[in-house]
Symmetry: C2
Subunit: 381 residues, 2 copies
C-alpha cells in the first residue's frame, strides 16, 4: 500500500523519487513523507490524501494496482531505473494501474510499441494498421498510447487481427481520454489492457503525456515511429527507448510529407532503423526467449545485450581474435550494425581490441550484474 499511496503524491517520473528509493524502501519513504511536517509538495499532498475514493473509483471500473513482485508485473519497466533522465523525468513506476481482460506481464513478454503523430496522413494510418495487424498475426502484442492518429490506427489494426493490444494512458483509468476514443479504449480493455501510472481521478497533463511515453518504450521490446512531424511527442518516445536500450524503428514515407519528417530524421541520424513491414520489425525485435525469463531474478550481463550484440559476441572466437569484416559475416550483420554492436560490447568490456587489430573476448565475461537499486539499497528486489 505504500507504493499506491506514494504514487498519489509523487508525479510520475519525478527525478527525486529514484534517488530516495535507492536509500529507502517504499515503506520507509512513505512513512517519512506521511509523517513529515515539511511544507514540500509530497508532504502537503500526503497530509490531505484520502485513498478511499480512489480505491472506490478503481473498483467501480475494475482497475487493479500492480506492484513489483506481482505475477502480472511487467518486470521490464524496471529498465527505466537504469536509464538517464529525459526531460527531467526518470525511473521505473512505483506501480501500474491496469484495467482489462489481459495479463499485462504476459502480454508485454513480446510487445512492440507503435506510435506517431495525432496529425497523421492516410498513408501513415494505413501503414500503422497493417503493421499492427501483421505483428499480432506473428504473435506480438501492440502497445500504443490510445491517442488520435497513428496510435488509434495501431490499436485498430491489432483489434482487427483479433490480437491483444495495450493502451498506455496519461490520466486515470476511471475516465477515457480522448473521450472520442471511449469505444476504442473499451475494445482495447476487452482484448488486452489499459495501463496508467496515474491513479483514478487524475486528469492527463502535458507532463503526464511525456512520462507516459517512457512507459510505452519500457513496456515494449522496440518502438516503431510511423509518422511524426518535427514537434511530435513520438520523438520523445524514441528518446526514452534509446535511453533504456530499446530498439527504435521508423517507417519511411514520401520525402515531401511533413508527417515523415521525424522518421526520416531518426533514420538519417542513425537513431532508428528503417522498417517497411512487420517482418522487418520482427527481425529487429526477437520474441523474448525462454532463456531470458529463466535468469530473470538474477539478470546477467549477456541477457542485457540486444540481438545484434549477442550475435557479434557469439561470433567472437574463444581464443585469438577475428577482424570486423569476419565478425559481420559470421553474425549475419551489416558492417555498421556490427560496429555499433562492438561499441556496445566494448564499453561493457565484453570485447577488447587484440594486438593484431582484431577483436577478442574482453576482460568481463558473462558475470551476474546487480541493478543500481540492488547495489544501493541492499534489497533483493
Amino acid at each position: 500500500m505504500s507504493r499506491l499511496a506514494l504514487s498519489c503524491v509523487v508525479e510520475p517520473g519525478d527525478l527525486r523519487l529514484r534517488t530516495r528509493l535507492r536509500q529507502h524502501t517504499p515503506e520507509e519513504l512513505w512513512a517519512s513523507v506521511a509523517g513529515s511536517s515539511s511544507v514540500d509538495a509530497w508532504a502537503r499532498r500526503a497530509a490531505v490524501l484520502d485513498l478511499a475514493p480512489i480505491l472506490a473509483a478503481a473498483d467501480a471500473v475494475g482497475a487493479r494496482f500492480l506492484v513489483p513482485g506481482d505475477d502480472e508485473w511487467p518486470e521490464r519497466v524496471e529498465d527505466l531505473d537504469r536509464g538517464e533522465p529525459v526531460q527531467e523525468s526518470v525511473g521505473a513506476p512505483l506501480g501500474l494501474w491496469v484495467r482489462g481482460a489481459g495479463d499485462l506481464g504476459r502480454l508485454v513478454g513480446d510487445a512492440v510499441g507503435i506510435v506517431g503523430s495525432r496529425a497523421s496522413t492516410a498513408y501513415g494510418d494505413r501503414t500503422a494498421t497493417e503493421m499492427a495487424a501483421d505483428l499480432v498475426t506473428l504473435g506480438a502484442t501492440v502497445v500504443s498510447g490510445g491517442a488520435f492518429g497513428i496510435d488509434a490506427a495501431a490499436h485498430r489494426g491489432a483489434l482487427a487481427a483479433e490480437g491483444p493490444t495495450v493502451a498506455v494512458l496519461a490520466g486515470g483509468l476511471d475516465d477515457f481520454y480522448p473521450r472520442a476514443h471511449t469505444a476504442l479504449l473499451q475494445q482495447v480493455a476487452d482484448a488486452g489492457v489499459l495501463v496508467s501510472e496515474a491513479p483514478p481521478g487524475q486528469p492527463p497533463s502535458r507532463r503526464r503525456f511525456l512520462t507516459r511515453n517512457r512507459l510505452i518504450a519500457a513496456l515494449s521490446a522496440g518502438v516503431v515511429i510511423v509518422e511524426a512531424n518535427s514537434r511530435s511527442g513520438a520523438r520523445n518516445t524514441a528518446t526514452w527507448a534509446t535511453s533504456i536500450g530499446r530498439h527504435v524503428m521508423a517507417v519511411p514515407g514520401p520525402v515531401s510529407s511533413a508527417a515523415s519528417y521525424t522518421p526520416h530524421r531518426l533514420i538519417r541520424e542513425g537513431e532508428a532503423t528503417l522498417v517497411t513491414c512487420a517482418a522487418d520489425i520482427r527481425e529487429m525485435v526477437a520474441p523474448m526467449g525462454s532463456e531470458l525469463a529463466l535468469h530473470h531474478s538474477q539478470p546477467r550481463l549477456l541477457d542485457l545485450l540486444d540481438a545484434a550484440e549477442s550475435a557479434v559476441y557469439e561470433a567472437l572466437p574463444s581464443r585469438g581474435s577475428r577482424d570486423t569484416g569476419d565478425l559481420a559475416l559470421r553474425a549475419g550483420l551489416s558492417l555498421p550494425a556490427t560496429l555499433i554492436a562492438l561499441e556496445g560490447l566494448r564499453t561493457r568490456q565484453l570485447v577488447a581490441v587484440a594486438a593484431n587489430g582484431g577483436w577478442m573476448l574482453g576482460a568481463v565475461q558473462d558475470r551476474p550484474v546487480r541493478s543500481p537499486q540492488q547495489e544501493a539499497g541492499g534489497g533483493d528486489g
Copy 2:
C-alpha cells in the same frame, strides 16, 4: 595512342587489364598485344583493328579521347584502381571518350550521381528532378546514365536549373542510346558532357551497362539512389560506389512502393544514408576543397579520408584519449557515423584504443602513401 588502341580491344573493366598495367606501361602492353601471335581475344581483335574509321566517327560528332595526364582528365576515376572487383569487373578506364561543351575534369570536381530505375514512379521522377535542380543551384554537377526513368528525370532537373550535367553512356558516342533520348542527350552535350568508355561504333551491351555504372560512381563524390526495384542496376552502382569509398545515399518512399524497395533495403542495412533533399546530400558530399587539389600529385593518407573520418580524426586529442561519445559530439556526427569513421581510421592505424578504453592517435600519422600503380610500376603518376 596505346591507351586508345588498347581500349578498342579490351572490354571495359576487364579484370586482367589492371593486373597487366601494374607490370607494364600501356605502351609496353599494346606492343605486346599487337605483336602477339596468340589466339586470345585481345590479340585477335588487335590483329584486325583499324583505328581510322573509329577516329573518323569520333571526329564527325566532335568526340575527344581523354587519357590520364590530360587537363580535362577526371583524376578521381583512378580510385577504381584501388577498389575490389564487382561482378568480375574492376579498374580505372584506359581513357574516356567525351562529347560536349563542358570540361569533364572541372565538371566532376563537385559532382553527385543520381541514379535509379527505368521503371520509376511519378513520385520518383518528381523527386529526382527536384533534387537535381536544387543540387545544380547549389553549385554541383549532376551525373547520371541517360536512361529512361530516374536518370532522365535527373538530367532534366539539372537542365531545367540551367546547370551542368554529365551522362555516362554504355555505347559509343557516335550514336545516342536510348534513341528516344536523342534530344535530351543532345541538350546534355550542350550544357555539359557525354562520357563513354566504349569507342565510337560500339553498341551498348548488358556487360557495358554494368561497367558503365562503375564510372557513374567513380566520377561522383557520392551517389543517390532515388528509386530502384529489387532487380534494378542501381543496386550495382551502389555496390561500386561503396567499393571505392563514395558516399551512397538513398531516397525513401512509401513502404508499399516496389520502386522504393532497394533504397529502403540499402538504408536499412546501413549501406546508404537516407536523404530527403539536396541539402541532405550536400551535408554528406562536401564540395571538393582546394586542399585536396593541392596535394594531388602526392596523395597523403589523410587526403583519402572521407568527411566523417576527417572530422573524427580532427576530434582526437594530440595527447591522451577521448571516448566515443565525446568524439561524436566534437565531430558533430551521430554515434553510428562516428563508429564507422573510427573503424576506417582504425584499419589504417590512424587511431588506436587507449588503455582506458578511449580512442587515441594511432601508430600511423599523416604519412605520404603511394598508389598501387606507383608501388608496382615505379612511375611517378
